[in-house]
């Protein structure tokens, strides 16, 4: 097996892990087993996988409300993620955060966040830290098209620009914020016009093509590590589920549009390519999938058998000591 193939298989594995994890969650949420709001990453797996493959544990990422994919791609533990989503004591945040606030600082995942756009300034601080440390580390921030309309988007681009921060902006343009089309909400038309105006180099990629994401992110990250300053990567994609998983919430996006994008499934299309090129056989795929499914089941079982926090645990962690 060539080393290139190894990378491809890893990318595939990461994507499929996200997919299986999220599929399991979809079932559990609709069965009423999970408290709170859960935003599914299904349909966008290629972005987290393709970008994070270039990042070390010292590189720091900041995520948003749709953050499970970033956690998994950055190397977070499925068990502790699942436990957190279930509100268990063994979760990453001891049950204090839930789906929208998973973080794993030990792998450089600085946290998902429920306020649209808020991760952008936070990521400038992570990049500033990397710049001061001077070891060639980078930061990356993931955010949606909707977040680009918050003022913090502008401020973060500007700050990264004037300070030449080692920061990769990854816009996951799934074309909607809840039910509001980006085409309606954004005067620029093309998101990339904004970072370009701030003199930040920019590339638009098909976000369902993991190889393209991986290739472009790779040269972007390499350039950033060498001190080239921030880079902006816009990934065109689509989410398969409602804004968050809920019976009540309406999905006003055209059904045909969703169907079309399902045909552009990032996982299936990549799988097909790898099979076509002989990188993966059906049997090998089965093996990978089985292992992933087992890990997801283990994570799920771990979450279920983990204890809930004690009520009084709520009084811990307000402050660090």
């Amino acid at each position: 097996m060539q080393s290139d193939d190894k990378v491809l298989i890893e990318l595939y594995t990461t994507m499929l892990t996200i997919r299986r994890f999220e599929e399991r969650l979809v079932r559990e949420v609709f069965a009423g087993n999970i408290p709170g709001f859960v935003h599914s990453y299904i349909g966008q797996e290629a972005i987290a996988a393709g970008v994070c493959r270039h990042l070390t544990k010292r590189d720091r990422i900041v995520s948003h409300h749709r953050g499970h994919g970033h956690c998994i791609a950055k190397g977070a533990d499925l068990k502790r993620m699942m436990a957190e989503i279930y509100g268990k004591k063994t979760g990453y945040c001891k049950g204090k955060g839930g789906s929208m606030h998973i973080a794993d600082f030990s792998v450089g995942m600085l946290g998902a966040d429920g306020i649209v756009g808020a991760g952008l300034p936070i990521s400038t601080g992570a990049a500033f830290a990397a710049q001061l440390e001077g070891r060639g580390d980078v930061a990356a921030v993931f955010f949606g098209d909707g977040a680009c309309n918050e003022g913090e988007f502008h401020e973060a681009l500007n700050l990264a620009g004037i300070w030449k921060l080692p920061l990769l902006f990854v816009c996951e343009n799934n074309q909607y914020g809840v039910n509001t089309p980006a085409a309606y909400a954004m005067a620029a038309g093309e998101i990339s016009r904004i970072p370009k105006a701030h003199n930040i180099p920019c590339r638009v990629v098909f976000g369902n093509d993991v190889e393209e994401v991986h290739r472009v992110a790779g040269s972007a990250v390499a350039g950033i590590r060498k001190g080239g300053g921030p880079f902006f990567l816009e990934c065109r994609t689509y989410r398969w589920h409602k804004h968050f998983l809920s019976q009540g919430l309406e999905d006003l996006r055209p059904a045909a549009e969703l169907e079309e994008w399902k045909r552009k499934c990032p996982v299936a299309s990549f799988e097909k390519k790898l099979r076509g090129r002989g990188v993966l056989s059906p049997a090998k795929i089965r093996t990978i999938d089985d292992r992933i499914l087992r890990r997801v089941e283990e994570a799920h079982a771990f979450a279920l058998r983990s204890p809930y926090p004690q009520p009084q645990d709520a009084l811990q962690d307000i402050y660090s000591t």
């Binding site: 204090k96 649209v116 509001t180 926090p309 645990d313 709520a314």
Partner: protein, 320 residues
Amino acid sequence: MRKITYDQAANEAIQEEFRKNPRSVHMSTDLAADLAEEFGTDRIRVTPIAENSLVGAAIGLAGSGFRAVVNLRMATFGFVALDQMMNHAAKITYMFGGQAKFPILIRMTVGAGFSGAAEHSISPYSMFMNVPGLKILLPTTPYDVKGLLKTALGDPNPVISFEPFMLGRTETEVPEKEYFIPFGKAAVRRRGTDVTVVALGRMAHEALEAAAEVEGKISVEVIDPRTLVPLDRDSILRSVRKTGRLVVVDEACRTCSAASEIVALATSDRPTFARLRAAPAQVCGLDVPIPFSPPMEKFVIPDRAKILRAIRGAMRRPST
């Protein structure tokens, strides 16, 4: 009488008032579908996610002779708009010497109870009460939300309506006939003589259940202020002077809460203080960010049991 939900009642208020006033505009990041259908997308605008600017735009509209309604959804989303609300909407009438009116209604949901975690469960009304110039509503029933919003939509000032998320789908009877509820008039939800319970937001319901539970043993008066600014001081003080005992229930974090304000109000009023037979008690959210996991979330917000404990405690305490 027909029953409708809290959310429907709120919507009706807007519909009725928008029919009367063509110079009224609605903005929200989500489509307000039935409003848009009736009033058109000129007046009912879907907006980008840019809350600070929506509130700013509302101020500009209002200063130009329009009435503007902004639905920010959850109160914490409104935190990106606090500059426009607190530095501008609240002060602009005053700063400009009253030369223009700013009829603005801003709606936000508040409260915990659905595992929304720290960023989706806050009840921040007290911080708005500390900023003079805003009127502040905290409606607790479908009937009230309709009547209060209708009044708000006739008021020439910035009004903020905090609407408990958990009440959105609760139903009660709401008359078809038009009515308004004036600001600054508390609802005495239950008459009693032993202890006054002032209960805010969703806690008004919990307090009523608690009061019912001790029926016959302790006579509990339950007051729902309904509006926090103006606050119906008189009704509260009158009740406390009668009962000599005060319990304030508020889902928000205790420190610098509206509940603390009500306790301070009652105790620093000389005749009321003179009639107090026990130290007033606060049953509030604990001073922690709202945790996600249900057992912890339940622990940090008040409920019937905690209210009952406080009522019984007030009765047990020896008079001074």
